[in-house]
């Protein structure tokens, strides 16, 4: 890990935080990706369009950054398909059950000094760490 990588990480983090500030200051909304996505499907009609635009912006912003900045992630062809499917299911189920993810609880919830979000963030970070260590070093997937 070099200084340029850490600088990019910090700038990226500042941009993510700024996006959350914009959405809260102007629209009074929390930039939590899992809840914004869930309510695309489970909310009243007038509450959907801004979510569509936010998510299109998210994908478009990533697209622009890939085109300008490069560093497109390489496909992980040796990653087991079934395991990725299981992981996707767990992420969708868990963020719905726990009402938030890295952005909603992590970036925005911590920003509101919410104890619920602090507990959730510590728990998913710890679980993520234990899981990643086990999957790589004990089960030997992509280690």
């Amino acid at each position: 890990m070099n200084g340029a990588g850490l600088t990019a990480a910090l700038i990226g983090g500042l941009l993510i935080g700024s996006a959350a500030v914009l959405l809260l200051l102007f629209n009074g909304r929390i930039a939590g990706i899992s809840t914004i996505t869930a309510k695309l499907f489970f909310s009243v009609a007038g509450d959907r369009f801004w979510r569509v635009l936010f998510l299109l912006g998210l994908i478009g912003g990533a697209r622009i950054a890939y085109l300008v900045y490069g560093h497109v992630p390489l496909p992980r062809d040796s990653f087991p398909v079934w395991l990725l499917a299981v992981a996707g299911f767990l992420v969708g189920y868990g963020t719905s059950l726990g009402s938030g993810c890295t952005s909603g609880h992590g970036v925005c919830g911590l920003g509101r000094l919410s104890l619920r979000s602090l507990v959730a963030t510590c728990l998913f970070l710890l679980t993520g760490i234990v899981t990643a260590v086990l999957v790589r070093h004990v089960f030997g997937v992509l280690s």
Partner: protein, 142 residues
Amino acid sequence: MKKNYLVSLIVSLFSGLVFGVGLVLSGMTNPDKVLNFLDVAGHWDPSLLFVLGGAVGVTVLSFRFILRRKAPLLEDHFHLSDAKKIDGRLVAGALVFGLGWGISGYCPGPALTLLANPGWETWIFLPAMLLGLFVHKATSRL
């Protein structure tokens, strides 16, 4: 159409755009990098601490001033969760999400940005994530 509503839609799009650029710049959209951060027993990559630190630094410093207002600039009230209780759902949800995150290296934001550069992982992970969402919503209404 009310002018404020139109502007709020533009803000939504722009906020998403900034968020998406931030995710790519920060390295969060690269699952290997995320796993190198979570895998503290391997070649540990500390950079995601800088991502979280940068993002939370901005929100902690700004949200307190924003939330002192009676309302956001373009709407008549803030849309915030008023849940306070640390209950089994919150804990179980965080554990299940952490498990999926630690396996794959994707949390929901980076998972959606897969659509900016689609590959095989896109068409496996995203439908599975939506299925997980739908199964939870369907079963929690029983």
